[in-house]
């Protein structure tokens, strides 16, 4: 039997978290459940009816969806590893106390992720336009201009460069924080023991950063699966849907075409399932590595 003090403490506790719980319930939990229910509805606009697995069947026949899924996977598989490796290298370099001007470089590399999304997207769009600064520079160097916004391949490259530019510094900060928690004498011991620098990175730094690398990989995977802002602002999903992502397609389904709320909810749940699977796989890989 709980005493009165304990009961009062319980009531107090619930009262304190009630405002947050109510808001979360209205704006998160309810919409999530609603969208799950919606994903089984077919129909356009406000006329919808229960369609069972019809939406899921539609996914497999929908070439635009398959295109968006493919594009998103390409972004994921190419961009996340590049960014993680870059962020690691920057972090290790900028953790060196002997490096001149390292706080300047740290700030410079971190700064992109605090700039306005739209502002940077607009800048990228103008810089990489057919006659933008980048092509002018390339021509000035005697190279051919690159059709950044009009070629399907180069448009993907541009989007990857943009998100890498924006998010590398953000990931680097996590690695820097982790590196600064490493006892310096571990590296000194390795130096005295004659462990070469590459081996110190491979066998000491990397394993010690593994939990942080896992965390940033999961976060970046989720972020890339939801990729929307850059394709929307820089390439508008084009050319010919070369940079159309899943999130962008959901937006199109919901707001651009005759709204198909049920089907767009289904596509949203595809992202949820993908995030779940990939995160599970990443944790599994991390645990395997620990056992080995």
């Amino acid at each position: 039997m709980a005493s009165r003090v304990v009961v009062r403490e319980h009531i107090n506790g619930w009262l304190f978290i009630a405002p947050a719980l109510i808001l979360l319930g209205i704006f998160m939990i309810y919409p999530i459940i609603w969208s799950l229910w919606m994903s089984f509805q077919t129909g356009r606009g406000m006329n919808f009816s229960f369609g069972g697995l019809a939406n899921i069947q539609r996914l497999f026949a929908d070439t635009v969806f398959l295109r968006a899924l493919g594009n998103t996977m390409i972004f994921l598989v190419v961009q996340v590893p590049i960014m993680i490796i870059l962020a690691l290298l920057f972090a290790v370099a900028l953790n060196d106390t002997k490096l001149w001007g390292r706080s300047f470089f740290r700030t410079a590399i971190f700064l992109p992720c605090v700039t306005s999304l739209v502002a940077y997207a607009v800048l990228f769009k103008s810089m990489f336009s057919a006659e933008g600064v980048v092509n002018a520079t390339l021509v000035g160097l005697g190279l051919d201009p690159v059709p950044w916004l009009t070629d399907p391949f180069w448009a993907k490259v541009l989007i990857i460069m943009a998100i890498t530019w924006r998010w590398t510094g953000y990931n680097m900060i996590f690695y820097l924080a982790a590196l600064q928690n490493v006892d310096r004498s571990i590296y000194e011991a390795a130096r005295i023991d004659g462990v070469p620098p590459w081996a110190r990175f491979l066998y000491i730094t990397l394993p010690m950063l593994k939990p942080v690398i896992l965390f940033t990989t999961v976060i970046s995977t989720i972020g890339t699966l939801q990729l929307f802002d850059e394709p929307y602002n820089i390439t508008q999903g084009g050319p010919s849907q070369a940079t159309l992502t899943l999130s962008y397609y959901i937006y199109d389904l919901t707001f651009r075409f005759m709204p198909s709320f049920g089907y767009s909810a289904t596509v949203s749940w595809v992202i949820v399932v993908l995030v779940g699977i990939l995160t599970f796989v990443q944790f599994l890989v991390a645990r395997e590595g620990r056992r080995a």
Binding site: A190, I192, D193, G194
Partner: protein, 352 residues
């Protein structure tokens, strides 16, 4: 095995000089302890020998080789750190064998070496554990094992016992002494704990503010300190210091009813001096005495320390042997042999 030779070794960080010219000879197989208060430069000096800090000036020889600019891994040294510096994600076995992998030692030879070190340090049952599953003392043994497998000419220990509790510290101290006997290598050991220095060292180097104050065997430093600093630093409890004035080949003690204590030390009449008397040198049967009132008594069982003063003077520490009758508030004639007095001049240097 190699000895070491330091000649005019200096270290500056910017305009701040932290090691101000150290000359030192360390014989092969010698156990040398650097001791001094924190900030005296003892760890910096050790790190310079290890090659972790650059040498600003002077020469460092290990064996017969000039080592100033040699890479740490090529100096024939191994180092044990205060924080153990074990690789957290590796097992004990991997920690100990890691360096050998890069020295191109064959796998079965690594295993043999690691097993041998594990035997010496009694680490057998722990070989597959990770550092976080070990106690502080076990971690330190692994760190020592990691040093042993490299067969260094010189072992460097940087305050290896400071993170251990008091009981374990005594135990590990004995382990390290045993290890020195068994391995017969040169050891340089840094500590701020003068008891560790006294118990372990063949030779103690007392450092203060980047300067060597005195070098000698533990008993030389205890019996025959060169200056006030060494006299006060070596010995526990600390030596008592009294104000004195030289008069007619004797010392007058103005704070103790102007008592006159004869001394063999020669100095001009009227010279102000500091008189040092160790707590354990107050003994029944001494021909000189100080009139004191006991303030506080500490009974340790085998030893009784009395803290006493004359009037409102400084508190003196007396080791009364096992005199359990001493009580707080007692008047006490603290007898001592005048020959056990050490006399220092106004600049703190010993007058002999």
């Amino acid at each position: 095995m190699s000895g070491l030779k330091l000649r005019g070794v200096r270290k500056s960080f910017g305009s701040v000089e932290v090691i101000k010219g150290v000359d030192l000879d360390i014989a092969s197989k010698e156990f040398v302890v650097f001791v001094g208060p924190s900030g005296c430069g003892k760890s910096t000096l050790l790190r310079m020998i290890a090659g972790l800090e650059a040498i600003t000036g002077g020469e460092l020889h290990i064996g017969d080789e000039l080592m100033n600019d040699v890479d740490p891994s090529k100096r024939g040294i191994a180092m044990v750190f205060q924080t153990y510096a074990l690789y957290p994600h590796m097992t004990v076995r991997e920690n100990m064998g890691f360096a050998l992998r890069f020295a191109k030692v064959p796998k079965d030879e690594i295993k043999r070496q690691v097993d041998e070190a594990a035997r010496i340090l009694e680490l057998g049952p722990l070989m597959d554990r990770r550092p976080k599953e070990l106690s502080g003392g076990q971690r330190q043994r692994v760190a020592i094992g990691r040093a042993i497998v490299r067969h260094p000419e010189v072992f460097l220990f940087d305050e290896p016992l400071s993170n251990l509790d008091a009981e374990l510290r005594v135990h590990m101290r004995i382990e390290i002494a045993r290890l020195h006997k068994e391995l017969k290598t040169t050891i340089i050991y840094v500590t701020h704990d003068q008891v560790e220095a006294m118990t372990l060292a063949d030779k103690i180097v007392v450092l203060r503010d980047g300067v060597v104050e005195q070098v000698g065997t533990p008993l030389q430093l205890y019996d025959n300190p060169d200056n006030l600093f060494v006299a006060g630093f070596i010995g526990s409890p600390k030596m008592n210091f009294l104000k004195g004035i030289m008069e007619n080949g004797a010392v007058r003690l103005p704070d103790y009813e102007n008592r006159i204590v004869p001394t063999g030390v020669r100095a001009a009449d009227g010279t102000p001096v500091t008189v040092g008397i160790r707590p354990e040198h107050f003994k029944e049967g001494g021909s000189a005495a100080l009139p004191l009132t006991v303030d506080i008594v500490e009974h340790l069982g085998g030893e009784t320390y009395a803290y006493a003063r004359h009037g409102n003077g400084d508190l003196l520490t007396l080791a009364t042997g096992n005199d359990r009758a001493v009580g707080s508030g007692d008047s006490y004639e603290a007898k001592f042999d005048p020959a056990s007095m050490l006399i220092f001049d106004a600049g703190g240097l010993r007058i002999r």
